[in-house]
Structure formats: structure tokens, C-alpha cells
Symmetry: C2
Subunit: 343 residues, 2 copies
Amino acid sequence: VPSPRRRPTIQDLARAAGTSSSTASRALSGRGYVAAEVRARVLAAAERIGYVPDGNARSLRSRTSRAVGVLVSDLRDPFYADLAAGIEGQLRSAGYHVILVSSDGEERAEAEGARTFLAVRVSAAIITPVSDHAVRLLIDGRVPLVQAARTADAPACDRVLVDDAQGALEVTSHLTGLGHTVIALLAGDTARASDLSAGYRAALGAVGVRADPELVVSIRPQAGAAREATDALLDRRPDVTALFAAGAALAEGAFQALSHRGLRVPDDISLVAFGDVPWMSLVTPGITTVDQHAVALGRMCARLVIERVTGPPAGDPTVRYIEPTLVVRGSAAEPARRSVTPS
Amino acid sequence: VPSPRRRPTIQDLARAAGTSSSTASRALSGRGYVAAEVRARVLAAAERIGYVPDGNARSLRSRTSRAVGVLVSDLRDPFYADLAAGIEGQLRSAGYHVILVSSDGEERAEAEGARTFLAVRVSAAIITPVSDHAVRLLIDGRVPLVQAARTADAPACDRVLVDDAQGALEVTSHLTGLGHTVIALLAGDTARASDLSAGYRAALGAVGVRADPELVVSIRPQAGAAREATDALLDRRPDVTALFAAGAALAEGAFQALSHRGLRVPDDISLVAFGDVPWMSLVTPGITTVDQHAVALGRMCARLVIERVTGPPAGDPTVRYIEPTLVVRGSAAEPARRSVTPS
DNA sequence: CTGTTAGCGCATTCAA
DNA sequence: TTGAATGCGCTAACAG
């Protein structure tokens, strides 16, 4: 049957089922009393005439929506893709749908995305903000908010964080356990850098070595920058025996720089990373790193946001942590005696 | 100022600007006559009181929406992530927002997603369907549709496709050009497989060799399956000198199987792929492959869908092609004389 | 248990 | 050029 020009409304449905529209509405939503027999009749009619409730009208009237805004920095980055996938799956199975914005790290796009969320009356939002402008906008608009994996310094709201300090501690300890003491840290200039470097310093401290500021370099979190930085670092400090690249893209750059220099991993130098992406298990040797469980992180964000939407009013902001896991592969080994240093 | 409990409506805005709500509406939308001075006053007031138009009310009344449904098979797959990123960016800059569903390849989720799109009255949809159920649903609902990178055999609609046959032809020709004739094809059991294998066969035909059916294996498009299949294939046919893994995940599995067997690439065997993902440029040697330009593909889908929404009524279904590009790295070389075959 | 009534916030007639 | 009136499709009160 060629469907009618106009989409069937609840009135059409009511007519087809021989009831009033409010009864039809109750039958569909399950709220309020409806005779079982009538209910069945309505459902059957809906199926028959191909009735699909209009979400806009529904939201308008009921002042709620099944939409959740999701704002990530860059969908092409596997971390955010996994995060988004986790969020989407969990929300979908709870009956919500996702409005997705990938800001490409641009403040402009972020703010625009936040405004979109306000406009469509999302019932909540999950974001990984680079600036706090978007956060402000959303909070001012009274949108329940959870921040994922970042701690934009500004206003307080629910967060789900990766325990960056713990992860960095573990992977750095792995290095010190192997005997390394001259360990360089390549960190991205993001909100997460301070926790990461705290973990790094803690691990060094635990074996009685003071972090050397010259070995800590902060750069844009991109492979190209990491390549250059690694090169420069190694020129300056040929005594480093291990490199901690605190991010998947950084590890990529570092890895390239190392190969390019003809340095063998881990024989000549050890390399560890933060964040697990496919290539790390494909190269030889595999990269020892820490898995941040991005999908699980996404799921937890979704769960938290649903609690906030369906649960009791406010309460204090919640912070939950995802415990990352050390993944030992082959890229870290005991330091070699490379140079002719007397000692 | 702590914003009021209730979000400002256009009535509040009208009051604040000293006009009627209809004038305010015209001032905001830019449709119809409004004195320049009044218009400025309204815009200023909107800014001041933090007015954000209610998208639901707007859609309900105007029977249009700025939402586009995007349904991909698996966000965690870099191809779909890139595709989604391309779509989202292009749509956003055209003033649309994205409702994203990642179906994880499940028909169930796909259909559910399609129903969501209908419910929220998206003005169009872009999908990579595994079954045609979702396609049907959307077409029956008169939703302008473009299919991305897949040709679900069922109903005709706009499509943007990767020229799979051409890409496969190029990469296989690269192999034959090097002197290979015993080339195995590892293909996923997807809608794209037939074009891919057509290109493969064409390349072989061009140098006068008939494709050996025993060398063509069709499997689930996953690394694990590819690992096993590669192993089995090499046991059966130790004479193959090159492997074409027609998909990034397949290439991953094949690569692992090869390393595991202690086969050196490309000295002992050549490997080429279809689809470019980060690890392919990080391993040594880099994997020779074909770049399908997923982001550009996404952008083109978005452009096409916008044309359909804003342009003249219908017209015949359009098909556009993305031309993939051969990326030569080091994983293919002249075939070695490995076995003691008497020539 | 069911039907009637009344808007949700907005864009669009139509008169003025 | 502006304002008053109307209803998009639905659900929440209320009365039966």
C-alpha cells in the first residue's frame, strides 16, 4: 500500500482503533489506565497504519526528550570514537538517542554544539570540552551534564575520569622496575597533563629519583610534534634510556622518530605509551602501554547521565573513576649500556 | 544573574523587545518584513535574556527540521569513524545536526535506529545498511536517503560509493606489475565483495592469468577470521607469492598470521590491502594499500543529502563515486623464488 | 476505565 | 510593516 501523503497522527490512529486520542496515547505510552483489550487494539492499529509518534510534539508537550547531546573533540581519534561508541550503545539500549557533535577541538564549534543541544532540548549532555565556554552555556541552560575524561577547570559538574595519575604511575613504575632512571616524559598540553606527570613523578620518587625538568616536554598532542620533540630531546640528552609518550598520537610520533634514527626498541631505548590503539599490538615489538578502557568509560558516562535524568533532583556533583590497565608487550626492557659514560 | 526557572519563550522575548511574538519570530528567522531597527532590538533582547528558540516547537509547526539521521555499522572501525566525521563536519557547517546510531552490524539496532529517525522527523538520513529493512522503513517514511559505500541490493536510492572495482584493479595491477601471478584474495562477506573481486580478476585478466577460485576466500570481515584463513590458505597453497587483503581488519589478521609464521614481508611474501589506517604506515615495511578517502566520502554524502533536502523535488536516484588512491609503501616487492618448484 | 478540554512554543495565515 | 488569531501533534488534567 502506498502510504498516504500525510503521516498518520494519533487522531488517525484513534479513529482506526475506534477510541479517543487520549486513550490511544495512554495505550502507547503505558501510562494511565487502559483496558488490556483496548490497548491491544490500539497497538494493532498502530502497526497496521504505520503510525510513528511525533517526537517533536511529544517533547513539546511533555517537556522531556529522549535525546542526549554528545560532544567529542575529534571522532577520528580512536579514543573519542570508542568513547562515543560506548556512550551511544548504552544510551540506545536505554531508549535514548544521541545528537553528536565532533568539535575538532575548535571552541567555536563547541559553543555552537552546546547551543544546538539547548535548541533541541536534549535531556542531558556528555562532553569532552576543550574550553569551558560550552560547559557554561549548558549549565546556565540547566542541562544535566557529565564531563568525560577531562577536567575543564571551571564549573563543577558530574565527571567520569580516567585515573591518569594511577595509569602513569603504573607504566612508569614498570620502567623503573626494569632499572630505568633517566626517563623522558612526552606530554600533550591538555587538561590531563598534570595528572599524568604527577603519576610519572610519583613513580620516580618511589625509587628515589627526582624528576629532571629537562626530561619533561609538553607539546601539542599530535604525532608530528612528537616526532620533532623526540628528535630534539634525544639530541640534547643522549643519556635517556626510556621514553614515556603520554598519548597514542604522541607514541606514534615518538615511535617514528626512533625508527628514523635507527634506534632499536627496546634494545637501544625503551618506549611506553598511554592509551591503547590497534597499531601498538601490530608493530614489533608491541608497545607496552596503558589501556584506558574508552568504551567502558563511555558506557559509564551514559549510565551516570541516565541516573541524573531519571533519578532524584540534584545532589552534589559526582566524580567516578575508570581504572586503567597496564598492558605489557615488548617495547620496554632493561636499559642497555649504550654510551661510553665512565661511571 | 541566575536564569529564571522557566526557559524564556518567544513571548518573553517579544515583551523584552517591546513587540509582538510574530514580529519577533520574523526578526529571528529573517523571513517576512521587519523594520531594521526593530530587528536589531529583537536580536539584542534575545542575546540579553538568553533566548534559544525551541527546536521542537519549531519543527512541529514548520514541518521541517535541522536534524539528519546518520546510521553507521560500527563507530569503532576507523572507516566508519572517518565517514561519520566527514558527514558531521559538513552537515554542521550547513546548519544541520546529526542524530547518530552505530548499529554494531545488528539488524535489530538498525531498524530501531530507522524508527528513531522517523520519530524525530529527521529531514534526511545517511546510512551504511547491512540489511535493507532499515532502508525500506525510511523510504516508506518518505525520508530522503543516501546510502554510503554500500549497495544494499534492495530499493533504489541515492548512493555515494567507493569505486571498489577500480581500487582493487589498481592494487592488484601493482602486484602483477611486480611479476606476481599467484595472488590470493581475502575478501569480507559484505556487499562490497563482488566489486572488489571483479577488480582483482580484471587485473589478473589483463596479464593473461585466470583467477584461481581456490585462491579466493570469503570470510567475516574481522581480524581473527583473517588470521585463520591466511594460515589455512598458506598451508594449502604454499605457492602463493602475494596476498590481497581487501579490508583493513582483514589486512590486520593477515599481517599477524604472516609474522606468526615467520614469513618476512615482502621478501617471502607480498601483502597489499584495501583501506588505509594508521598502523599501516607504522609497521615496517609500511603496507601498500588503497586509500578510500572516507572523510571525503562522508562530506560528499552530506552534500548530496543537503541538495536533496533543499533542491528540487525528486528526480532519479543519483550515484556518485569516490575514486580511491593507491598508496605504495613497502609491503609488495618482486616475488621471490621460495620453493623448490621445478619452474 | 474513557473521552473532553486545554495548551506546550512556535510560524504562519490574514487584517489592519 | 505589524499584530491577532490559528493550529502543528501530542499528553496532562479533569470530569464522566
